[in-house]
């Protein structure tokens, strides 16, 4: 039993069977990568985990509780935070406010009508958000509009926002997509550091083999909506089925 157990999940969009019969178990405090060629169903699977889609069949259990039928914010409150392919942050707000929002969500829950409370007096929240910004090396940018950050900093901020909620499972959807090599390496280092510093499970969907083999402890290969193999990175590298599914794409991507 892992922290996240996916059993027999299937999802059909009209005539397209996006997910066939996915069985997957992510062990606690591990880094688990899900790879696969385009159209393999990686994003569909991820959307089923966070409540954006409801699978037609099967079950998704997080820490012994089903996530199916719950809204995204409820699933987040259970301890799953998601990082998006293109960084999703509050562009109109300052970097500090971006960091404050998840801190409030963690402490006060999904809704608190604290319309009369003065935010500048909530030192507990300000400290926590400030610490997190320091950890992300963004303390000097706290008054900037989040929209004016560079792509790499936006990604950093988004990961920091997710971490400030102290999630038990961090889901990353192609976190280095569209990044230059230097930014990609920075992100890999950041994720390694996160892994070393805290008890956290990371599930990562990725196209870039360099990222996957730098980080993952276990890899599931998805092809045409079904898991092909699941194994350690070393075994996956030489696996004939994987080579067949990718037809050399792994070399291109790496």
């Amino acid at each position: 039993m892992g922290i996240l157990d996916v059993k027999g999940v299937g999802k059909r969009f009209g005539g397209l069977q996006a997910l066939g019969d996915v069985n997957l178990s992510v062990a606690e405090n591990s880094v688990h990568a899900i790879i696969g060629p385009n159209g393999a169903g990686k994003s569909t699977l991820l959307n089923c985990l966070v409540g954006k889609l409801i699978p037609d069949t099967g079950s998704v259990m997080f820490d012994g509780q089903s996530v199916l039928g719950r809204k995204p914010y409820e699933i987040n409150q259970m301890g799953i935070s998601r990082v998006f392919q293109t960084p999703e942050i509050f562009g109109d707000l300052t970097v500090m406010e971006n960091m404050l929002i998840p801190c409030f969500a963690k402490r006060d829950g999904a809704f608190t009508p604290n319309a009369y409370a003065a935010m500048r007096k909530d030192t507990e929240m300000l400290d926590r958000a400030g610490h997190m910004l320091e950890e992300m090396n963004m303390a000097d940018k706290r008054h900037m509009h989040a929209a004016s950050l560079s792509r790499g900093d936006k990604r950093r901020l988004e990961i920091g926002m997710c971490l400030s909620q102290e999630p038990r499972l961090l889901l990353l959807d192609e976190p280095t997509a569209g990044m230059a090599r230097a930014d990609t390496n920075n992100t890999i280092d950041l994720l390694k550091q996160i892994k070393d510093d805290r008890d956290i499970t990371i599930a990562i969907i990725e196209h870039d083999m360099h990222v996957v083999f730098s980080l993952a402890e276990r890899i599931t290969v998805l092809a045409q909506g079904t898991p092909l193999v699941e194994d350690t990175p070393d075994k996956i590298k030489g696996h004939p089925k994987v080579r067949e599914a990718y037809l050399g794409e792994s070399q291109d991507a790496a």
Binding site: Y73, F84, L93, A105
Partner: protein, 398 residues
């Protein structure tokens, strides 16, 4: 001070001072001068400034913070008015119960409307609110005539029960605050100037300052930050463990209560209400006020409300005769020509002027009058400070 940052407290103080001194500030011209028609310091208009200021402040909490554009807020204004009127008919001509009940009733009504309308966002939300407001207007105009008075509207009558008041012995019922009549005024004559201090205006002004204070608190609270987060990125909000729906609904109800408060005050001032108060143009007006003043800013909506009400009441009073007076120095043919050009923009054509100003603001000052003020302030900061501060209300007559 009052739990506010120094900067916000200064703004509140400034607004309080300006509203308290409004009878002086809005009457800059002597009564007998040709400019007296630009004086806005008469009770009726001053009351409208602050009441529509309240309406716009509340609307801005919804539109400015969450970005949800309601096109039906006049319905809450109207419901508040009817509620206050019935308090005057049934309980007492004292305005306090009326104002309180108008807030509560508008809050309940906006909870129901918001509950349904907030199932959609964007243009569909706007259309839903517009539909609700127009339904309310039609109901008030026809089916609900026993409650709303239909076409004629409602007014307090001598024969109303008014269980808390002693019987009125033939006197027309007048709105009051513990005996102090809303309509009573004191004139202060100083040289050529006459300044009018009206009880109703000061009651409404105090309520507006309180409403403004509450809106600062909301803007600076974690709740206010969440509302801005709703506008910025609802997807991220949902995936950050926050439920956007109750936040938007709370903002909708708060702004509905502000509208109800404005409606209640209107009745307290002029003791009458009609269904036209809920017509969609009234909903559109508050949208214009917010955008003209500066959406999402603290003071913007108040400025926008003031600017629009000033134009509506002052610009619309200018007629052809006054124009002939102004342009008397021109040769006859030219005079007629200039007046033909200017005439469509004044009097009944004041909407045309408003439209042009609105377009100019949206195109050149997307942040509204507040942005204009900031740009002027920045200009003076860079250069050396100068004495001749530009007054937005100077006229072309000179």
């Amino acid at each position: 001070m009052f739990g506010l940052e120094a900067k916000d407290f200064r703004l509140l103080l400034l607004v309080a001072l300006l509203t308290m001194a409004a009878p002086f500030i809005l009457n800059p011209f002597p009564v007998d001068s040709g400019m007296a028609q630009f004086n806005a310091g008469y009770p009726d208009l001053m009351q409208r400034f602050v009441i529509f200021g309240i309406f716009a402040i509340g609307f801005n909490i919804l539109f400015g913070l969450t970005g949800y554009l309601s096109f039906g807020h006049a319905a809450f204004l109207g419901v508040g008015s009817y509620a206050a009127m019935w308090m005057m008919k049934l309980l007492t001509m004292n305005v306090i119960p009326g104002i309180l009940v108008s807030v509560v009733v508008a809050g309940i009504f906006s909870l129901a409307v918001g509950w349904i309308s907030l199932r959609r966002s964007g243009i569909y939300f706007s259309i839903l609110t517009l539909a609700f407001a127009q339904m309310s207007y039609s109901l008030a105009y026809s089916v609900l005539t026993p409650i709303t008075g239909g076409e004629t509207g409602l007014q307090p009558k001598v024969t109303d029960p008014r269980i808390l008041d002693a019987a009125l012995t033939g006197n027309a019922p007048k709105a009051n605050l513990f005996g102090l009549e809303m309509g009573s005024s004191t004139d202060l004559v100083m040289g050529g100037w006459v300044f009018t201090f009206n009880v109703g205006y000061y009651v409404a002004a105090v309520v507006m300052i309180f409403a403004f204070y509450m809106s600062i608190r909301i803007f600076r609270s974690p709740f206010g930050m969440m509302l801005r987060a709703v506008k910025s990125n609802q997807q991220r909000l949902n995936y950050t463990g926050l439920n956007a729906k109750p936040y938007t609904l709370a903002a909708f109800v708060i702004s509905g209560m502000y509208a109800g408060l404005a409606g209640g005050l209107m009745v307290a001032m002029d003791t009458q209400v009609g269904a036209e108060r809920m017509f969609w143009t009234a909903s559109g007006e508050v949208v214009l006020m917010s955008i003209l003043g500066g959406v999402g800013t603290l003071i913007g909506p108040v400025l926008g409300a003031g600017a629009i009400k000033y134009m509506e009441n002052i610009l619309s009073k200018i007629n052809k005769d006054i124009l002939y007076e102004w342009f008397a120095f021109l040769p006859d043919g030219l005079q007629d020509f200039v007046i033909t050009l200017v005439y469509p923009f004044i009097g009944k054509g004041w909407h045309l002027t408003l439209g042009l100003i609105f377009m100019a603001v949206v195109i050149f000052l997307p942040g509204g009058l507040v942005e204009g003020g900031q740009r002027i302030a920045a200009m003076f900061k860079r250069k050396k400070p100068s004495d001749n501060t530009p007054d937005g209300k100077t006229t072309p007559a000179e």
